[in-house]
Symmetry: C2
Subunit: 442 residues, 2 copies
Amino acid sequence: MTTPPITDQPKLARTLTRDLGQFEGQTVKLQGFVHARRDLGGVQFVVLRDKSGVAQCVGSGLHLPLPESSVEITGTVKAHPKAPGGFEVQIGELRVLSAATQAAPVEIPKMEWNVNPETMLDYRYVSVRGLRERAALRVQGEIVQTFHTYLRAQGFTEISTPKIVSAGAEGGANLFKLDYFGEQAYLAQSPQLYKQIMVGVFERVYEVAPVYRAEEHATSRHLNEYLSLDVEMGFIEDEEDVMELENGLMAAIMAHLKEACAAEFELLGASIPAVPARIPRITLMEARQLVTEKFGHHVGGKDLDPEAERLLCQHYAETEGSDFVFVTKYPRAARPFYTHADHNPDGSLNPDFTRGFDLLFRGIEITSGGQRIHDHAMLMDSIRAYKMNPEAMVGYSEVFKYGMPPHGGFAIGAERLTAKLLGISNVRYARAFPRDRHRLTP
Amino acid sequence: MTTPPITDQPKLARTLTRDLGQFEGQTVKLQGFVHARRDLGGVQFVVLRDKSGVAQCVGSGLHLPLPESSVEITGTVKAHPKAPGGFEVQIGELRVLSAATQAAPVEIPKMEWNVNPETMLDYRYVSVRGLRERAALRVQGEIVQTFHTYLRAQGFTEISTPKIVSAGAEGGANLFKLDYFGEQAYLAQSPQLYKQIMVGVFERVYEVAPVYRAEEHATSRHLNEYLSLDVEMGFIEDEEDVMELENGLMAAIMAHLKEACAAEFELLGASIPAVPARIPRITLMEARQLVTEKFGHHVGGKDLDPEAERLLCQHYAETEGSDFVFVTKYPRAARPFYTHADHNPDGSLNPDFTRGFDLLFRGIEITSGGQRIHDHAMLMDSIRAYKMNPEAMVGYSEVFKYGMPPHGGFAIGAERLTAKLLGISNVRYARAFPRDRHRLTP
């Protein structure tokens, strides 16, 4: 009598919860986390969460591990109209891959309505597993991806510039200080100078990297560390070329989100805006006049205040159906020293105004941009006009002795755009591990 | 008599130098930098450099601006066998967009053979315009892009984690210190813990971001700030899953470079390696034995030394034609505390060895990776075995109380891979603006 050969059972491939409906009547293997569980004595329920969604699983005689344990469930798929997605899994085997050793400090399935937002940030290493939290971060990941794909298609090259720097691009305030082998260094508040230098190399460049502001913010729209999406392009006519590029980028982002993140937007009750082929433009001075005349809101200072931004967006939403508006021609005093002056209709320079612009979206500034000064003499004039010390600025100005072409660019704060898009009240909840005045962990 | 209507001349689109051959006999508009110039009295030559290459332009009666000036040249394309690319432009108009105000501190076309490398780094804001410099950085940009596209195709989500942290992932040494609103903070040396947390959210995650090492390096392969390509994946069987992913990633990168960067590799005299379908694997202990027996090189300590890495790669290049080799099963003492222990054939843990691996490429380690500990009790044992203070590690260990799945990952230093691939002798020349012990500018 011969022994039958030992045959390996072919290994069952993993199925994602969102695909259950394709396997009705078949045996599947799920892997994920115990999102919720319920023991009704004779029958037990596990809601398993994986990266694609959740699935209801039902069995008996099981020892249910604590929520957040990671598990592998093998079982049969049955149609079940009340289960999420219309299918449930009848558990054949429940294997614990890694048991949670204690109850989570926040109950993931219920945290949206139970938990103080500060507590969610304190326990971010668990709370970030929540469906809403991860939806927001996934949307952000897709925004960043579209930034890559769109700009590459437009001939841009990705660069990586130092975050440890010897001076601030916008001046010395609001910088985190650092000891660098005995020298004073700072964390970069922007890659401004570096991306300008790289225009001299690749003509069109972009960077996705963190930037730092040491401001003691107490607002819902500022972070001390955030992800900056930076763009700079050379050989432009004027700032209109830059706005046109950004217009196209916004359209590409929203088109991609519509395709890739419909479920996330639905979960968060948010809507994807349409981007006009030409986003409306209004000069800052006209914008101030408009909010004064139409809404009776007077703006002091040189910029728009948050209420004026809100009203201006309301105006364009009502009159042109646009969630976006470019505010252009900022006065010099409201822009950094490297912003290019505007021209009068006769071609002469107009030193009071610049080719700087902001893009407002649903009531808030999401990007700041403009044409930069490329001429060395104009730059030195500007440095003096801003009462900065030319000697201290040599590290910046030196670069412009070597034929920088006309260029401009913009920067988008990824978290702020994400938050505004998804209706998230505070930009800190649109970052996985935010840093604020009081928060250095987790 | 009526005045003829004023008609706008249709604007001439810009042509890139690499496309000149498509416009023989036609008028084109080039934009770029004065790479070189020569005045022979009656006739003048300008070599114009744009992001795609260089073009020889010839004219007369011109006032030639200084090298590096940015210019626009309109003229007619003629075949010319001695011109680079086989075509030259007969200048109709030379318009200076932005004149260089002084001679560049390094002469770009000649700097490869004339200039001390330290001088090139001192004047990096100009020298980075060199053809070889920008070729290297463009290759790096394409490596990073393939990292994005390949991992996304494998179901990975891009994340952004804090670089300002309260403690180091690998322990406290080699960290840059920072004052964070009165608290002691550090610059992250790795996103290790954060990417592990995010495995609990997206299962497969990656990050492209700078990391920091405050080491007083004096080697050709270390930087104090570098671009780390980080990967982490959950629900793995063991470290073999991670190596397989990395194998596929390397193959994708080299295939893309072959397609996108042939000109850059030719310029730099470098060759793109073939990536075997299965990169050879050898355990660290076997590797040490091999270099001893075959080359008479004895390795002390727990790791391979640089010479052993070189010899091991030589062996695999000669015997298997592979420029890559995985070294596996590192002893525990040679890996960080969070590395998963290896298993004996009977399934019991083997505390002396780990599931940590390195990938060597052409004689040098380019990535370090492994399976991580996901079990809280095993992690606490490991922290004690490494004689670390469990109380100080709570910020790390707490995360593992909530059912982390089996997971692993790796990290690639973008500059080191770029340098090795292109035959660049020092990793500092594979970064646009390197930071070393003595260099904080530009």
